[in-house]
C-alpha cells in the first residue's frame, strides 16, 4: 500500500501562496501544489519517520520543528540543514516574520525553553525570555505589521504574553489567567488579538496593552487552532464576521488550519488534510 498523508496525523499547515501548502505530520513533511493533478506529496524522505509538530514557510524557505531540533531548507525542501539551538528543545510551533526578506526573523515556541528567536533566517536560535514566566509555549502569532510594530503574542498553559520588541521581552496580558490553558493565537490587521483556550472558548484584546476578555459571540469552549479570521473548534470550523463568529462547517476534527486561495485546508489527527471550498458563509468539502 502506498504511503499517503491520509494515513497520518497532521499537526501544522503553512500556505505561502494560493497554489502551495505544506503539512507537518506524524510522518514528515508534505507538499500540495495546485494544478490538475493536485495531491499531497512527501518531500524530504529523510524526515519520513519523524513526527513534526511545526512548519513555517517564507518564499522558498521552509522551517520544520521537531522534538530537539529545527531544520531549514532554502530551496523548497530539496536540501536541509539543522539549525543551531541553545539546547535541544521540544519545538511546538514556528512563526516567521511577514517581512522575512528584510529582517530574517523566525521564532519558535518550545515546551520547556520558552521562545527561541533567530534573526539570521533560522541558522541560529537564541532564547529570548525576558518576562516570560511560563516557559511552556503552545502557539505564536506575529502582527501583520510586525516590521513596524514588532508585536508578537505567545500563548502558554498559564498565561498569554505579548512582546513589543519582536519577541525578546515579554509581558503577561492582564486577566489572561482566567482562560488558561491557551492553545492558539492570531493577530488581526487592525491589531486585535485573539487567543483560543482549551477549556474556556475564545478570548480577545483590543491591542497589546488591553485586557483579555471572553468573546461571547464564539460559543464552543475548546479552540484547537486559529488562522487569520478562521477558528477550528470542538464542534466545527468558524469564521469571524462583523456580527461575530459564524460556523462554516461541522467538521470537528481540525487541529490546524490554512487558507490557500479560495480553499480552506484543515489538518487533523485522522484523514490527513481535508479541503473545503470557501464561500461567504459555508465551507463545503
Amino acid at each position: 500500500m502506498s504511503d499517503t498523508l491520509e494515513q497520518h496525523a497532521v499537526f501544522a499547515l503553512a500556505a505561502p501562496n494560493a497554489a502551495l501548502c505544506y503539512a507537518a505530520s506524524s510522518a514528515g513533511i508534505w507538499r500540495w501544489r495546485a494544478g490538475r493533478a493536485a495531491r499531497w506529496k512527501r518531500i524530504a524522505p529523510e524526515f519520513a519517520a519523524v513526527g513534526l509538530p511545526a512548519v513555517a514557510v517564507a518564499g522558498k524557505s521552509i522551517w520544520i520543528g521537531a522534538s530537539g531540533d529545527i531544520a531549514v531548507s532554502r530551496d523548497e525542501g530539496a536540501s536541509w540543514q539543522l539549525s543551531t539551538l541553545p539546547v535541544r528543545s521540544e519545538v511546538q510551533a514556528l512563526a516567521v516574520s511577514p517581512a522575512y526578506d528584510r529582517d530574517g526573523v523566525v521564532l519558535a515556541a518550545t515546551a520547556r525553553d520558552g521562545v527561541l528567536r533567530s534573526d539570521n533566517g533560522g541558522a541560529t536560535f537564541f532564547a529570548w525570555n525576558f518576562g516570560l514566566i511560563d516557559l511552556n509555549i503552545n502557539a505564536l502569532a506575529l502582527s501583520p505589521d510586525f516590521a513596524n510594530d514588532g508585536h508578537v503574542i505567545a500563548t502558554g498553559d498559564h498565561a498569554v504574553f505579548v512582546s513589543r520588541n519582536g519577541g525578546r521581552a515579554w509581558r503577561e496580558l492582564p486577566e489572561s489567567l482566567a482562560g488558561a490553558p491557551f492553545t492558539s493565537a492570531a493577530i488581526d490587521v487592525d491589531g486585535t488579538l485573539f487567543v483560543g483556550s482549551e477549556t474556556a472558548g475564545l478570548w480577545r484584546a483590543a491591542d497589546v496593552a488591553s485586557k483579555l476578555t471572553r468573546d461571547v459571540t464564539f460559543k464552543p469552549v475548546t479552540v484547537n487552532a486559529l488562522s487569520g479570521d478562521l477558528a477550528a473548534a470542538s464542534d466545527g470550523i468558524y469564521r469571524r464576521t462583523r456580527a461575530g463568529w459564524k460556523r462554516l462547517s461541522a467538521d470537528d476534527r481540525a487541529l490546524c488550519l490554512a487558507r490557500c486561495g479560495g480553499s480552506l485546508f484543515a489538518g487533523g489527527a485522522e484523514q490527513g488534510v481535508r479541503v473545503f471550498k470557501l464561500n461567504h458563509d459555508i465551507a463545503s468539502p
Binding site: 532564547a127 525570555n129 525576558f130 514566566i133 516590521a147 510594530d149 498553559d157 513589543r164 520588541n165 519582536g166
Partner: protein
C-alpha cells in the same frame, strides 16, 4: 524627646506656620527651578571643605538631597517636606523631581492663600486630594502606549535625549530597555576604559561563584555549564561526607546525575567526597555559594526555589547535613541550564511554577511601591529582574572617577525613567499635557467653596512646569502658554525651536507615570503642609543623608 520650643496654634489654623513653611518650600523649589526643561541650567553645590571643587548638578532630586538643613527651623520643616517629596519621585522614576517642585510650590502658595481667606485646612486638604485624583485620571486618559518596533525605539530614544545629552549613554540605555522590556533587570557597573559596553545575560544571575576549585569538567576552563540539571537549595554548611553520599545517591539513582548545589559552605571532607564522585564520572556536580542579601539571607534562596521548583531543604534551624541526607529527589528543582564561574552563577529556564512566580512577582511589586530606602529599592529591582529572567549589564566608563560616577548615576536614572515610560505610556512633554489637564479641570463647576479653590489651585499648579520651562529657555511664559492654547491636541511648545510641533516629531515626550507621581506627591506634600498646626522642634536634631 526633649523640646525647647513648642508653638501653639493661633485661632486661625496654620497662619503662624504657613509663611515659614512656604519659605522653606520656596527655598528648595527656587533652588531647582533652573534645572527644568531641555534648555536647563545646573546647580553648583559646594564641597565639604573650602578647597573642594563644587559639585555641578542638573538633577533636581540630587540637588534637593544635598540640602541637609536651612537656618530657620520652621522654614526647615517646609524645606525637608519638599526634599523628601522630590527625592521620592526621583527614586521611583529617575526623573520628574523638578516638575514636582514647580507643581508643589505653586500649589502651596494657592493653598495658603485659601486658608488665609478662611477655608478650613482639613477641607482644603480633602478638596486638593480629590482634585489631584481628577487631574491624574485626566492625564492618564490622554496618554498613549509606546508602539513596538522601530517607532517605539525612537520614542524611547527621544525620552532618553530629553534627560541627558550623552548620545553614547542614550544609545546604550535605549537598546537595553528595548531588549529587556519594562520589568527586565538592568545593572549599571563601572568600566575601566572610558567607553560603554553592554552585555545581555540570559536567565537569572547571582554574584556568588563556585565554592571550591576542581569542579570544572573541561580542564583549563573557569566556566562550568550543566544542561538539564537538578537544583538543590540548602541553608547552612555541608560538613559530613556521609550526608553528601546519602543525598547524592538518591538523585543519581533517580536519573539526575547533573546537580547544582546552592549551599552556604562546604567542609573539606564534603568537598573531597564530591570531587571523588565527580572524578569517577558518577555525577557532574556544581556547588555554588548561596547568595546572601544583606539582612535577608533567605529571600534569595526562596527566589531560587520559585525559579526552579525546588524545595528549600532546611531553614537554618535544622542541620544542613541531616536535611541533605534525607532529601527526596522530588525536593530538588530543575533547570535547563545552569552555569557558574568563580564569581557568578546563573540559572536558565528553571522548571518554575508560573502561579508561584506570579505571586512572587506581585509581592515584590507591592514592596517596591511602598519601599523608600534606596538600597532596598535596588535589591528589590534586582530580585524582580532575576525572576523575570534576564539582565542587561551596562558597563559605564568615563575620563575621570568623578565623571564616571556622574555618568553611572545618569544611566541608572535613565534606565528607571525609560522602563517607566515603557510600562505606563507617554504624554506630550514640556508641560503641555499638564497644561491641557489644567484646562480640562477648569471646565468643571464644583459647588463647594473649597472645591472651587482646589480646582483653581490645581489648574494653576499644573501650568507651572510649562511656564518655568519657557522661562528657563528665555521665552515669555505668557506667550508660550497662549501659543499652546491654540495648538493641536498632541502639540508641544518646543523651546529648542520656539515653535509648536507634534510631540513625536519634536521628540518632546514625558512618562505619564512620572507626571502622575509628580501630581500625587506634590498634592500630598502640600496637603500635609497646609494642615500643619503645631511644630515640635528637637533641641539637637540628628542629621541624615537620607530623606
Amino acid at each position: 524627646m526633649s523640646t525647647n520650643n513648642r508653638l501653639r496654634s493661633d485661632p486661625r489654623p496654620g497662619v503662624i506656620f504657613h509663611p515659614g513653611l512656604l519659605a522653606g518650600i520656596d527655598t528648595i523649589a527656587n533652588m531647582v527651578r533652573g534645572t527644568l526643561g531641555p534648555l536647563a541650567r545646573t546647580v553648583a553645590v559646594s564641597g565639604n571643605f573650602r578647597t573642594d571643587t563644587p559639585e555641578i548638578l542638573d538633577d533636581a532630586g540630587i540637588v534637593a538631597r544635598r540640602v541637609i538643613q536651612i537656618g530657620d527651623p520652621v522654614a526647615d520643616a517646609g524645606a525637608m517636606m519638599m526634599r523628601h517629596a522630590l527625592w521620592r519621585v526621583r527614586e521611583l522614576h529617575g526623573d520628574g523631581a523638578a516638575t514636582t517642585a514647580m507643581i508643589a510650590q505653586t500649589m502651596a502658595h494657592g493653598a495658603v492663600r485659601a486658608v488665609s481667606a478662611g477655608v478650613h485646612p482639613t477641607l482644603m486638604r480633602e478638596a486638593l486630594t480629590k482634585s489631584g485624583k481628577l487631574a491624574i485620571t485626566a492625564l492618564r486618559a490622554c496618554s498613549e502606549h509606546i508602539r513596538g518596533g522601530s517607532a517605539g525605539r525612537e520614542t524611547l530614544r527621544a525620552v532618553a535625549q530629553a534627560m541627558c545629552q550623552d548620545a553614547e549613554l542614550c544609545d546604550a540605555l535605549t537598546m537595553a530597555v528595548d531588549l529587556v522590556g519594562a520589568d527586565g533587570g538592568i545593572t549599571i557597573v563601572a568600566n575601566e576604559p572610558r567607553t560603554i559596553f553592554s552585555e545581555f545575560i540570559e536567565g537569572s544571575m547571582w554574584e556568588t561563584g563556585v565554592l571550591a576549585p576542581g569542579f570544572s569538567h573541561e580542564p583549563g576552563k573557569n566556566m562550568v555549564r550543566l544542561d538539564d540539571a537538578a537544583v538543590v537549595v540548602l541553608a547552612g554548611t555541608l560538613n559530613s561526607a556521609e550526608a553528601v553520599l546519602d543525598g547524592l545517591r538518591g538523585l543519581i539513582d533517580s536519573g539526575r546525575p547533573r546537580v547544582l548545589l546552592v549551599v552556604q559552605g562546604l567542609s573539606d571532607e564534603a568537598r573531597q567526597v564530591m570531587l571523588q564522585i565527580q572524578h569517577r564520572g558518577m555525577a557532574n556536580l556544581l556547588p555554588v555559594k548561596a547568595p546572601y542579601l544583606e539582612g535577608e539571607a533567605m529571600v534569595a534562596l526562596e527566589d531560587i526555589c520559585v525559579l526552579t521548583g525546588a524545595t528549600q531543604l532546611n531553614t537554618g534551624d535544622t542541620a544542613a547535613d541531616d536535611a541533605f541526607a534525607r532529601m527526596a529527589p522530588a525536593q530538588a528543582g530543575s533547570a535547563r541550564r545552569v552555569w557558574a564561574d568563580d564569581k557568578r552563577f546563573g540559572i536558565v529556564a528553571g522548571a518554575r511554577n508560573p502561579h508561584l512566580m506570579r505571586e512572587r512577582i506581585a509581592l515584590l511589586k507591592r514592596q517596591l511601591d511602598t519601599e523608600t530606602h534606596t538600597d532596598m529599592l535596588e535589591k528589590l529591582r534586582g530580585r524582580l529582574g532575576r525572576l523575570y529572567g534576564g539582565l542587561a549589564m551596562i558597563r559605564v566608563g568615563a575620563a575621570t572617577m568623578k565623571a564616571g560616577s556622574v555618568r553611572r548615576d545618569q544611566a541608572e536614572r535613565m534606565a528607571r525613567a525609560l522602563q517607566s515610560v515603557l510600562s505606563s505610556g507617554v504624554v506630550a512633554g514640556g508641560g503641555a499635557a499638564l497644561a491641557r489637564v489644567a484646562a480640562t479641570l477648569e471646565q468643571s463647576a464644583p459647588v463647594a467653596l473649597e472645591a472651587r479653590w482646589a480646582r483653581d489651585i490645581m489648574a494653576g499648579a499644573l501650568r507651572a512646569p510649562l511656564r518655568v520651562i519657557a522661562e528657563n529657555a528665555g521665552y515669555d511664559p505668557t506667550l508660550s502658554m497662549h501659543s499652546m492654547t491654540h495648538a493641536a491636541a498632541d502639540a508641544v511648545f518646543d523651546v529648542r525651536t520656539g515653535m509648536n510641533a507634534g510631540m513625536r516629531a519634536a521628540g518632546v515626550i514625558d512618562s505619564v507615570e512620572t507626571l502622575c507621581s509628580a501630581i500625587r506627591v506634590a498634592t500630598s506634600t502640600v496637603a500635609m503642609a497646609v494642615t500643619t498646626d503645631a511644630l515640635v522642634l528637637r533641641k539637637a536634631p540628628p542629621t541624615s543623608a537620607f530623606p
